[in-house]
Subunit: 150 residues, 4 copies
């Protein structure tokens, strides 16, 4: 845990065991931690993958992952995907939109990948795809707004 980065928004830590050993996660975000926790890592090609393992507590009454859980994860993934564009700055989400493509069941590996479609300025545009065991679950777009240097 020596790699933790403390910010006013919580502490960015690195998992040291389990399925997501070596992946980063945030401590100090109550809703995200309760919904997840969600993890992300930088891939060799410079892109960022977000992931978590679906459990019964993420499901809706029909036994599929709740749309709100998918969108909460997408909101997390927005910031993971924009890691380099943000360069440590804080930001807020202006818009998040999702198309629900398919269901995710308990036990599935849930992943999000995407790209910054426009960065550089104060307004950062992202699009991405959430999959469950590799099958498309949510197509999302988001707009985040850089606030200030941390």
């Amino acid at each position: 845990m020596s790699e933790a980065v403390e910010t006013s928004y919580g502490a960015l830590k690195v998992m040291d065991s389990g399925e997501f050993a070596g992946w980063r996660f945030w401590e100090g975000d109550p809703f995200e931690t309760r919904s997840g926790p969600f993890y992300y890592r930088r891939e060799e090609d410079g892109s960022y993958t977000s992931a978590f393992r679906a459990e019964a507590r993420h499901m809706n009454g029909g036994g599929f992952m709740h749309g709100g859980c998918l969108l909460t994860f997408a909101d997390f993934a927005l910031f993971a995907i924009a890691t380099d564009a943000l360069a440590g700055d804080h930001a807020v989400t202006l818009n998040l939109a999702g198309d629900f493509l398919g269901s995710v069941q308990s036990g599935a590996l849930v992943e999000a990948r995407g790209e910054v479609t426009r960065g550089g300025g104060k307004t950062i545009f992202v699009r991405g795809l959430v999959t469950g065991d590799g099958s498309p679950a949510l197509s999302f777009t988001g707009i985040i707004r850089r606030l200030s240097k941390r």
Copy 2:
């Protein structure tokens, strides 16, 4: 609790005490219950109001309500707003989009109101507004797809 309606998606119950006494809620939706629970009621004008009380567990690392919490509540409100259009049918969310208008702090009364912009057919369109203590927090639109008679 004698008013509970059992469906394959859970049980629709009525709160019998507390701030939301008389409001309906769903039992049997793990993610929604953990995120909320959220409540809704039919108003005298025939519209549906959804509500819950913001707590520390709904906040993000910045001390404001997490966007995923607002969207999870909006997904709940979509179906509350579409109660009459659905007439008891099951449905799934095809699209949910939100514009984040303002922050919500712990302790606030969070409410959602809206209208069906097109119902009647298999595809139902909804728009709504989530407020925190009366201030705009999230403008949302959603498309839900009727599945079948329950």
Copy 3:
């Protein structure tokens, strides 16, 4: 036409005859003029209504108004609805999203109404509804970004 307001983006004029006599329109926006022209006016309650008359040239191959025409009109209406929030400032559209609710046929009076869900700052959020002869045609949301004082 003495009421025309000249800006670097064109001239805001007032129609002096025809169905939209007394309504404002922009001169100097080639795509908008070719698609429309579209008109708007301030109502007594302070809201802004946008309108035009559907013609054969606005239709798609199926004989209904083209989705692109509805969205072009919605983009116009975004700025009409935000007239007071903009207070003469220039702005650009960051996001425009539309749910297609119903078809519009040639000859229909097409109108758009809506509200600013959040103004005041640099980012202005709008939602609105386009109707054809009073029937819902397009539910839209938009985010515009104030650029500078004119």
Copy 4:
């Protein structure tokens, strides 16, 4: 023009000269033809590219391509991208959302590429990107609904 395919929605033709020789376009869609015409072709990898050349008539009052023009082209591209998923069926747009990433000037080659994020059923989900001379201009998502066999 012997390759024209006649449908109740117009005739699908192939350009026989000019910059888009060999590309397909629709005849009989008044708004699209006036806004464009827009062209598309099948690439060797099975994807579909849409394109047109920006002219002064596509610009707004600021001298950049009008957002409505970009969205009209995106609506065209939705159906081009979904060509194989549609397999000749008619369809309508349920939702079209766009993030405006950058400006396009007169003279630019405007292209759209994308993918079906979910096809197969009655509801087809698409996402894509419009570029101007290769620079990102519009990120879009769309939902189309299959109507019937032609």
